[in-house]
Symmetry: C2
Subunit: 409 residues, 2 copies
């Protein structure tokens, strides 16, 4: 078991820059790194030597296609380190152990069983993490830490869960401290949406995008946005940025529990969608869903994708509402890309992608001279825990500027 619970500071700023360049390319030479980063050839050479000594980077043969002197290609050593990712949802906790390339080496899951209360659940989670690491048979000293994605609101810095919807008894639960104490590994806790944004930046569609939002549509946990601003994750002054679900769509509409009116989450949620489809069925609308014994959100998603008019219309209406809130986000933040994901989009992602793109094309202020790209998460819902693992890898290996003024001269 580890004793310390601080994430390792991995190298200097420029070392992170070089490592990132290697990680994002599929085989890259020292000369290409210098060209790409603006660092001198000498700096790159020194840093690469150090990275090879630390076994973070491997030489993988020579590129002879370029004519002149063959250049040695570099790639990240996937076995240099590992991270555990945990996705904490209402129904299920999923766990993975990944390598530096985000490849899953081991996975597991357990039912959340919210009725047991936070303390027992946390005990079982800690046991599951230690069993996962043990089963993966990797050197424990190479496991950097545990990333946990949980529903908000939460305090990222202290790793405290505040009071998520449906998580009865989870008021001010010090998840980070408890899991660190029980496992010995450093823990990073983030909300679903921010974890998803970091995962997409680390290993998905947003690797080279400076400003983007990951719009996370949860199953029972509302709608949040994870933000990247100027190439870095942005959590806000109290780590509560990205409350897209509480953008009001009608300030004179029905009250939301937050004190505002007609928030996106009030108008667009899985329970309300099921009611809408039920009402359509009761009105006698044509649909393949007549006679379904239990009308679930999953059944509606599948019907919508199979072309059922009623299901498709209701899903698209929900996507439209998400799009309208995203218009305000884009008008305020001028991001280049919107990534869509979250458990509620597991099946109906393409319908959301199309509708949100259409709404942005029609309604953002600056639409005549720019286009905002809407895309589905590349990491995918089945791999949500992989995004959580990216919390650790991102924190250790992405160029960070914090505390810079004190260290640069």
């Amino acid at each position: 078991m580890h004793s310390g619970t601080n994430l390792p500071q991995v190298g200097t700023y420029n070392q992170s820059v070089v490592l990132e360049a290697i990680r994002l390319a599929e085989g890259i030479s020292r000369v290409e790194i210098a060209h790409k980063t603006g660092l001198t050839a000498q700096s790159v050479s020194n840093i690469v030597t150090r990275l090879i000594e630390q076994q973070l980077v491997l030489e993988i043969g020579r590129d002879v296609s370029s004519g002149g002197k063959p250049r040695v290609k570099l790639q990240v050593n996937p076995g240099a380190c590992y991270a555990v990712g945990v996705q904490l949802d209402r129904d299920e906790i999923s766990l993975v152990l990944v390598d530096l390339n985000s490849q899953v080496l081991q996975q597991a899951s357990l039912p959340t069983e919210l009725k047991r209360g936070p303390w027992q659940i946390i005990d079982r989670l800690a046991e599951a993490i230690l069993a996962l690491v043990s089963a993966a048979q990797v050197p424990t000293e190479k496991v950097l830490g545990i990333g946990i994605a949980a529903p908000g609101p939460l305090d990222h810095l202290r790793g405290i869960i505040y009071d998520p919807p449906n998580f009865v008894g989870w008021t001010q639960v010090p998840l980070k401290a408890l899991i660190e104490q029980k496992t010995g590994y450093p823990v990073v806790v983030d909300n679903d949406a921010t974890a998803a944004a970091i995962g997409e930046r680390w290993a998905g569609n947003a690797q080279a995008v400076r400003n983007f939002a990951f719009v996370y549509v949860g199953m029972h946990t509302g709608i949040g946005a994870g933000l990247f601003i100027e190439g870095r994750v942005y959590r806000g002054s109290t780590t509560n940025a990205g409350e897209l679900g509480h953008v009001s769509l009608n300030i004179d509409g029905p009250l939301c529990s937050c004190g505002n009116s007609s928030c996106l989450e009030v108008l667009c949620n899985t329970g309300r969608l099921v009611s809408q489809v039920k009402q359509g069925l009761e009105r006698g609308e044509l649909s393949s869903l007549h006679g379904t014994p239990e009308l679930t959100y999953t059944a509606i998603q599948q019907a919508a994708m199979a072309g059922d008019d009623l299901a498709r219309r209701c899903v698209t209406q929900n996507a439209h509402l998400v799009g309208r809130a995203v218009v305000s986000l884009v008008n305020l933040l001028d991001v280049e890309m919107i990534v869509l994901g979250g458990k509620a989009l597991r099946d109906v992602g393409p319908l959301y992608e199309q509708e949100v793109q259409q709404v942005l094309n029609d309604m953002i202020v600056a639409r005549t001279w720019r286009r905002v790209k809407v895309t589905l998460s590349q990491v995918g819902e089945d791999a949500a825990a992989v995004r959580a693992a990216a919390l650790i890898l991102y924190e250790c290996y992405t160029p960070q500027l914090l505390g810079l003024s004190a260290t640069v001269n």
Copy 2:
């Protein structure tokens, strides 16, 4: 006349950090700077020596109160350099020349006369700038450049005005290039709201605030937000962030010219306020405004501040709408402070401050564990051109991290 039109790169990152520490204090010693910035005493000493040689910083006597060895106090040399600020509004163009402490040494104004079209107006503006610098009798080589605050939309990087409301004929006008060519000074163009945010950060209420928004309520030019994120101005991927005026307050409401519905600007503008008061008068409501020959926005503002119920109610309703849009901004961005300003708040600022603070206290999601401070601009509407001058001073003298990866080792 100057020949180059690039803003000078003033010193290293750490030099900017030290200069900022000196600028924001009223007399500070080398030891205090080291303590505040985290730089070593030796680094601070070297940098201060350089700043004194460059005449950017002055020694202003010794502090004997601290008991031990008396410490030499430092302050910025206000005459080290100067900047011109221009506020371009529909009715008037105001100009100032300020020193490094933002003290106004010279000011001027001219009517905008939009009917003359952009080219003639720009000619006259360039002449007025040269006359202003000449009248100030400062060494022209110490004038760093010209900051221009103009209504958006515009392209900050290229300094092109797109097509602001009421500016007929101002389609794709290369304001930066033209003024640079006609005056010989470097020019920075920014929209009203961003310029106001930079001015407030440079010399106002937001000097130590990491994340804040300046909400700029224009007279005829809509409502925008200037954003500071993680201590730096944020303009967005296409320099169009902060379109607060196009946050929809009812997605099923009347169309806005932007393609969206019931945008804040549609519901809250000076013309609509005048109509609302007129309707109240026609309904026979008690008001001191009965019999006013011409019911202007200014007359209504003054009546509201003098306690007229009808005027005050209508102004407060408008402030409420601004507050509701700001709730979405705060929920998305988790800023610590909202600064209110702009020509439309010249007289009624306090009513806006009170109402927006109340709305935030009641409606932001995270209100139980944090409070967002609402404050009026300290720079003030009569000094809007001073904010524009801050565009230049901020760009030259604030620690900038752009291009960092290429220069740090």
